[in-house]
Amino acid sequence: MGHTAFGALPGRSTISMNVEACRAALQDAGIEKDLVDCVLVKFPTSKFEHMYGHKLSEALGLQPKITGVMDQAGASNIGHVAIAAMAIESGQCDVALISFADNPKSGVRSAYQQAQGDDAAFGWIGPPGGFAMVARQHMERYGTTSEQLAEIAVTCRAHGANNPNAQLRRPITVADHQASRMVVDPLHRDDCCLVSDGGAAIVVMSAERARQLNVPDPVPVLGFGQGHTGWEVRTRPDLTTTQAVVSAQTAFAMAGVSPKDIDVAQLYDCFTICLLITLESYGFCPPGHGGKFVEGGNIGPGGELPVNTSGGLLSETGMPGMQLIIEAVRQVRGTSVNQVKDAALAVVSNQGGIMQTHSTLVLGR
C-alpha cells in the first residue's frame, strides 16, 4: 500500500497522484510494476472521465489483462478489492493494483454541490443536506443527540492529531464541536469531513504469489461484502438503516468472524452520523444504540472498539475510502501511529452517495 501527501496539492492532476500512490504501493510490496496485470481505479469523484482505468494504465506504462472503473461512489475501493480477489481466484489475472486519487480541494468541486434533480427547486442540494436528513430521523426516532455525534468527531480528530500525514491535526472537544457553525441543521461543521487532494493505492495478489515474491508483511483479505440501498433519500421508507447490514453480514460470514471478534474498525465517516449508523448496521450495537455506544471513549484508544485510528475522513483526509483500507493494513501489521495492542482483525467500511452504496472488507490473521 502507498499514498501521496494529503491536503492541498495544487497543480497535481489526478493521474499524477494515482501514479505516485501506485509507485509507493509497488515499493511497499517490493515488486516490479511489470508483474501487475490488473489496474482498477474509480474515476475522480469531482470530475467524471471516460475510460479512466485505461488512462491510468497508459501513465503506468502497462497494458493489463483487466482494467476499468466500477462506479460505486465511495464504496468503489472495496468493490475493486473484491473484483480483484475474484479475478485472481479464477485465473483471470495475477497481481492487481487498486488506486484512487482526486483533487477537489485545488480543482473543481462541483460534484459536491450537485443539485438533486428537480428537488433543487426546494434548495435540496449537496451531501450535507442529505446526511442531515438522515441524522434528524435518527435523532427523532432514537433520541440520538448532537453531543453524541460530537464524540465521533472528537475521537477521529484526536487520532488525526497523532498522525503526521493527517490534513487536519487540531484536536477538538465536544464543546468545540457544539460551537462550530451550523452547516445544515442538525449537522455542525465539525460533523462534516474534509475536502482533500490526494491519492492512495494498494496491491492485491494471492497468498501463494506473495510468498513466492517474498512480499514483506502482506495482510490477508479474509472477507468482503456489498449491499446497495440504491434509492435516493426521497424514496427511502427508512433513513436510519441501509443495506450496509447485508454488506457486513456477507463479509463477516466469508471471514468466519462476528462483530465481537473485531479488534479495530475503520468506518467511513464522511459525516459523523454515517459512522454511527454503520456501527449499528454492522452489529457492534443494536439499532438505535449508536449514540450510547460512542460515548465515554468507547470508540477511542482502549475502548471497546477503537475506530478510525488514522483520523478517518474527518481528520486524515476527506478522500473517499482508500485511506481506511490502508490504515486497517497498518493496524494488522502493527505500524499505526495509534496502534491498537495486538490488533489481529480489522474491519473497513466504504460507502457512497447518501448511503446508497456500501462495501465491507475484513482484514487480519
Binding site: G123, G129, V184, D185, R234, P237
Partner: protein, 143 residues
C-alpha cells in the same frame, strides 16, 4: 398511457404541468396498485408501463427535515436559513418539499423548533419569490 406516448410527454412533464394547474398528482400502477413518486415510465414494483395519475388529497406526515444555514446552490442566499423536509403523503408516495407557515398566504419560513417527526402537514401549491410553482406543505403555527 402507452409507452410510446410517454416518450412524447414524459411523466415528469405531466407531473409539473399538473402542479402548474394547482394539483399534486402521483402515479398509480394499473397492474399492482403500487403508488409512487417521483414520476417515471414504469412501476418500480412490478415494472408495468400501465399507470394512471391520481390527485393527492393534500395530507402528509413529516418524516424528517433539515435547515440549511449555508448556501450550496445559487439563488438560495436570500432565503437562508431555510428548511427542506421529506414528507409522506397519506396515499403513500414521498416527496422532498419546503415547510411553510399555515397562517400566511405567501410562503414564509416557519418556526420549526418544536416540530416532531410524524406531524401532519397540508399541501399548499405556491411559489417562492421569482420561483416556479412548487408543492409546499403548511405546518400548523406554533403557539
Amino acid at each position: 398511457m402507452s409507452e410510446q406516448a410517454a416518450a412524447v410527454r414524459s411523466p415528469r412533464d405531466e407531473y409539473w404541468a399538473a402542479i402548474e394547474e394547482g394539483s399534486l398528482r402521483f402515479q398509480a400502477c394499473q397492474e399492482c396498485e403500487n403508488r409512487w413518486l417521483p414520476p417515471r415510465d414504469h412501476c418500480p414494483r412490478c415494472l408495468s408501463g400501465r399507470f394512471e395519475w391520481q390527485t393527492a388529497g393534500g395530507e402528509a406526515e413529516v418524516m424528517s427535515w433539515v435547515i440549511y444555514h449555508m448556501e450550496y446552490g445559487p439563488n438560495f442566499h436570500d432565503r437562508l436559513p431555510y428548511n427542506v423536509a421529506l414528507v409522506r403523503l397519506v396515499e403513500g408516495p414521498q416527496l422532498i418539499t419546503n415547510l411553510v407557515k399555515a397562517s400566511s398566504d405567501d410562503p414564509e419560513e416557519p418556526d420549526l423548533d418544536s416540530l416532531k417527526a410524524g406531524e401532519r402537514v397540508h399541501l399548499r401549491i405556491a411559489r417562492w419569490p421569482d420561483g416556479p410553482l412548487l408543492p409546499l406543505f403548511a405546518v400548523s403555527d406554533r403557539t
